[in-house]
Amino acid sequence: MKSQKWLVPTFYIVFLMLPIYWLLNMSFKTTNEILGTFSLIPLEFTLDNYRKIFTDPTWYNGYLNSITYVVINTVISVSVALPAAYAFSRYRFLGDKHLFFWLLTNRMAPPAVFALPFFQLYSAFELFDTHIAVALAHCLFNIPLAVWILEGFMSGVPKELDETAYLDGYSFWRFFVRIFMPTIAAGIGVAAFFCFMYSWVELLLAKTLTSVAAKPIAATMTRTASTAGYELGLLAAAGTLTILPGAVVIYFVRNYIAKGFALGRV
């Protein structure tokens, strides 16, 4: 019994990898081959789909747009969440618990509820179709997430650290930047990773708030899927490229990923 234990995770991982393999397989095929023949490996191996994405501005701009607003969002979210998480983990103040809960409700709010008002709000501020608009809109769920994750990590640091530093004559900000932030570096990394990820995978708000200038890659893909008919190979190549950023950084956060998904609570 014990020796066959590895079978379960193996089967599970095979199940996980099959659709990804199929996407990869498709991305190296020509449209004709996809529609004409059925094969487990590309028969006429081609890089044309990738070439098209890297040379056609409507495609590669989609990636640049996505990365731009995702990075802006991550920087904003983590930098405002840091002091707030510190306050929640160290101090009692008026309404702290209610505020903490209110933040959580925004992580749980269905984006569909906010799609239309967001469109009007950001149009009113003349921010429609800018990277800033999407970056700010994603703060709705990413700031609460970052606050919760960071609070989880900060609560694991004994308070004596703060007290010792103050006794040694550190000012608050000097202590915070020189001592405290390096101590919770792993937590900051995880929070940044999760902000990056949730902003990267979200489509509904990003699509609603952009039309041309800041259109995310995800929207480019859905538009291709509906208008250009069946360019499945191109779609598959674009999809494969969106998996890469996550796949690259996942190794570094593998031991913390459960904590991040649980909002810093494992």
């Binding site: 002091p83 618990k97 749980m108 700010l136």
Partner: protein
């Protein structure tokens, strides 16, 4: 942890509150505003009171979408949680394979949601997809773009593929935190592996599983992109879940009043669930 009272801590929280309030309160007030008014365009509005709420609460369309949503959420929870625990239990505890397992299993969680939909679309197409070909090859007629049952099963399978790893990762983190002494004690007592599971592992997993179940409950309750890209809510309305229906009414038909009323009802349901989540999660914590 002992916290000191410090009213000035509010200063640390102000940027967060400002940004989130800008994104949460203004749109919410817009929705409230629309939900009680009627418009014929040109920014002319008329007071309508609770008409839209009554209309939404009494409409079959909303009931159907709500029931579909509940059925979907129930199904994916019934599959993902036991499966996730089973996989976590049989994962290695140490050695080089741990990292391999964790990285590969976390991969689906990091794929943009529309790509998940598109990937499953390509994977399950009856003529060109691997899954579609395999099922049809077994002699079962399968076409998720036309058969409601097939569309449902494909959507559920996609969600299982996408999110079971979340349960696995959380359960695994919980299992790793059980001290070895517990297992040694069980061994001395001659406990069967079944008894170890029921008496030691499951109780110790209670907290992480609460988090996993509630997260899955809520995220699946607002699912939009994946089924939208996979099936477009069809065939017919068979996979039109709450968010898809809401976006159809709000951005498709531009029926602002009913859409706003539905948004608020939807939001209140989520808020209630959120409160349950918060209470359960904070229970074990000394704060």
């Amino acid at each position: 942890m002992n916290k000191t009272a410090n009213p000035r801590a509010w200063l640390f929280v102000i940027p967060v509150v400002g940004l989130v309030a800008f994104n949460a309160l203004i749109p919410l007030m817009t929705v409230v505003n629309y939900s009680v008014q009627e418009t014929f365009g040109d920014n002319v509005f008329f007071w309508e009171g609770v008409k839209w709420f009554e209309q939404v609460l009494n409409s079959d369309r909303f009931h159907d979408a709500f029931l579909r949503q509940l059925a979907f959420t129930g199904m994916i929870l019934a599959i993902e949680v036991p499966l996730g625990i089973a996989v976590a239990l049989s994962m290695p505890r140490k050695g080089p394979w741990v990292s391999v397992c964790l990285v590969l299993m976390a991969l689906p969680l990091l794929i943009p949601w529309n790509v998940v939909g598109a990937m499953w679309n390509i994977f399950a197409l009856p003529d060109t997809g691997l899954l579609g070909r395999m099922i049809n090859g077994l002699g079962i007629e399968y076409n998720f773009t036309q058969q409601p049952v097939a569309a449902w099963l494909t959507t559920v399978l996609m969600d299982v593929w996408h999110w079971t790893s979340l349960v696995v990762l959380l359960a695994y983190a919980g299992l790793c935190s059980i001290p070895d002494a517990y297992y040694q004690a069980a061994k001395i007592d001659g406990a069967s592996s079944w008894a170890v599971f029921w008496r030691i592992q499951l109780p110790k997993l209670k907290r992480v599983l609460t988090i996993a179940i509630l997260l899955r409950f809520m995220d699946s309750f607002m699912i939009y992109t994946e089924p939208f890209v996979l099936t477009g809510g069809g065939p017919g309305n068979t996979t039109t879940f709450l968010s898809i229906d809401l976006v159809k009414i709000a951005l498709g038909q531009f029926d602002l009043g009913p859409a706003a009323a539905m948004s608020l009802i939807y939001f209140l349901v989520v808020l209630l669930l959120c409160w349950v989540f918060y209470t359960l999660m904070m229970r074990g914590e000394d704060r």
